[in-house]
């Protein structure tokens, strides 16, 4: 257990996303419990995380109780099942009054239901997977990673295309649309935070935060 961790977090679902996320959160010094309902998968997780991994179905209220949800400040539901993720976040927020939840959307069509039921913010796994598959940038060239709807912001990723107006430009000379900010650049598998003197190259994967509705304007800078 982490000493004097700032907050207590529960991650539900120990697949690729949940497992890596837990590893990161633990390494940042957070106290984390990872809940997994597949016995075999749980045993592997226990090897890595010890007592921080728990076995159980987190859509059962007593499993959440046992995991100490009443003192959790953040619940992250990243199971492969959208209904489960919705339910876990709903219960966490409304029953246990957990301050923040993050849900994973497995099927993009289900976003509508997350919106309808107020399950926000959510992360679309499909978009993340797209990102993992090399050279697979969708036609519109912009991938929405995180929708901070209540705060009126979203985080997007896009690739700088050859022949675009942003190619070869210094970040300082870039006329970024108002209400948008460049967060990071991923180049040759290395990520860095650009400064005003950073010169952008074709193939750079750019992460930006922006006001909803600025996507097209942003895209025009980076698409040919």
């Amino acid at each position: 257990m982490a000493t004097e961790a700032a907050s207590y977090m529960i991650v539900v679902g120990g697949g690729k996303v949940g497992r890596n996320l837990t590893r990161e959160l633990v390494s940042q010094g957070n106290e984390v419990t990872l809940i997994e309902n597949d016995r075999g998968r749980y045993l592997a997780l226990e090897q890595e995380f010890g007592a921080a991994a728990t076995y159980g179905d987190a859509t059962e209220l007593w499993v959440l109780d046992r995991a100490g949800i009443e003192r959790a400040t953040l619940v992250i539901a990243v199971t492969g099942d959208d209904e489960d993720n919705i339910l876990i976040c709903q219960v966490a927020k409304d029953k246990y009054e957990v301050a923040d939840t993050i849900a994973r959307v497995n099927y993009p069509a289900n976003r509508e239901w997350f919106e309808l039921l107020g399950i926000r913010p959510y992360v679309s796994a499909t978009d993340l997977i797209l990102r993992m598959v090399e050279h697979s940038v969708p036609k519109h060239g912009i991938i929405q990673l995180l929708d901070l709807g209540d705060q009126g912001l979203e985080v997007v990723e896009l690739e700088l295309q050859e022949g675009s107006s942003g190619e070869g430009k210094r970040v300082g000379d870039l006329s970024m649309p108002e209400g948008s900010l460049l967060i990071s650049v991923l180049r040759a598998k290395k990520g860095f935070v650009p400064g005003p003197d950073t010169v952008l190259e074709a193939g750079d994967e750019i992460l930006a935060v922006l006001d909803p509705g600025k996507e097209a304007e942003l895209q025009s800078l980076f698409s040919a």
Partner: protein, 128 residues
């Protein structure tokens, strides 16, 4: 419900459902006045094809508690169905969602009560 004279539309993801419905109803489901739509409950297009928008009653009774709880809320909030009932096997989940206003039916709870009744009846028989 068909026998009660209601118009019933059934949504199931399994095409085999047609045979199952026929076996239960005793004749062709469509002939008996029912409609069957094949699709999953979270698909808006399937729900709409099944006629959720004009339904007076929506019953969510798939084999998944969480699916039922989610689609019942969708029927309530998006399609504004007047009466929505969700089948929830887990008594704790059923109870909590009932508390926050969702009508739930919990077969597990019902079975426990039936069994308890039987055991009590037997026990009182043994006392005699």
């Amino acid at each position: 419900m068909l026998a009660d004279g209601h118009e019933v539309s059934c949504l199931d993801e399994d095409p085999e459902a047609e045979g199952r419905l026929q076996a239960v109803v005793g004749k062709d489901f469509a002939e008996a006045g029912g409609t069957l739509t094949i699709g999953t409950a979270l698909e808006a297009s399937a729900l709409e094809e099944a006629g959720v928008a004009k339904a007076d009653v929506f019953i969510a009774s798939t084999d998944g508690d969480n699916t039922n709880i989610v689609i019942a809320q969708i029927a309530e909030r998006k399609y504004e169905v007047e009466t929505v009932i969700a089948r929830v096997m887990d008594p704790l989940r059923a109870e909590w969602y009932a508390k926050r206003g969702l009508t739930t039916v919990c077969p597990t709870r019902a079975a426990i009560e039936l069994l308890q009744g039987r055991v009590r009846a037997m026990a009182s028989g043994m006392d005699d």
